[in-house]
């Protein structure tokens, strides 16, 4: 458990989640979103998220 609560690991997780959140928050307040950031907004958001988790699983299999 202490390994999962390691500050550096939490930092990496936070850095990974930020791209999923910021473009949507920016869009909520009316900021124009570059085309490339559309992958973090509906309808691509779920696709991007599941693809990222899939890649994580694959690399978890590879790494150990």
């Amino acid at each position: 458990m202490s390994l999962l609560l390691d500050d550096k690991l939490l930092g990496v997780v936070a850095a990974g989640l930020t791209p999923f959140v910021l473009p949507n928050l920016a869009a909520l307040v009316g900021v124009a979103i570059p085309t490339q950031l559309a992958i973090f907004r509906p309808p691509f958001l779920w696709n991007t998220f599941t693809a990222s988790i899939w890649m994580t699983g694959q690399f978890l299999v590879y790494s150990p």
Partner: protein, 175 residues
């Protein structure tokens, strides 16, 4: 599964370089052909199934070579694993590419791929920490990592879109 395997054979089992190389060479030889096979199957039964099936089978093969210190079983098990968990990467380029439209394909596939490598890259230090600092040895953390990774991949694929037979489009559709 791959990255820490040689460390385990060298550090824990004190095997010679030749004995460490043999299962790795055989594993990679099998991977080479198995990736083509699963890719061929992916064109017929779908991308997701062709990744999920070897991932699930790989969970049952991993204990064969990680719960023993017999080099024969290690070699047989790890070579066999090359046809399953070792070959789940074969459809990665095709499936990752097909999931997104042309305008964001490079951005999306690069982001998702490296999201996985960053989190996956944390595993070797974590396995080494559990193996050395916690005294668990390499096999158990490697086994947990392999099975947990395969289960995560299967769950993610279950809720992912199937892209077999998809026609590529450059039209970006954002609500």
């Amino acid at each position: 599964m791959i990255a820490m395997f040689a460390s385990w054979l060298q550090k824990d089992l004190k095997l010679s370089p030749g004995d460490v190389a043999r299962p790795n060479i055989l594993h990679n030889a099998v991977v080479f052909f198995a990736m083509g096979f699963w890719g061929f199957l992916g064109d017929h039964i779908g991308r997701r199934l062709a990744i999920m099936i070897p991932a699930i089978i790989g969970c049952f093969i991993a204990p064969l070579y990680l719960n023993t210190t017999d080099l024969t079983w290690i070699t047989i098990g790890f070579t066999l694993q090359g046809a399953f968990a070792g070959a789940i990467y074969g459809l990665q380029p095709a499936y990752l590419t097909e999931r997104f439209p042309t305008e964001v394909r490079g951005t999306a596939s690069a982001f998702c791929y490296h999201f996985g490598t960053i989190l996956g890259g944390l595993v070797p230090p974590a396995v080494t920490f559990l193996a050395v600092d916690k005294g668990m040895g390499f096999p158990q953390p490697m086994l947990y990592g392999t099975i947990i990774g395969a289960v995560i991949a299967v769950i993610a694929l279950l809720v992912s879109p199937e892209t077999k037979g998809l026609k590529f489009t450059s039209e970006l559709q954002v609500n």
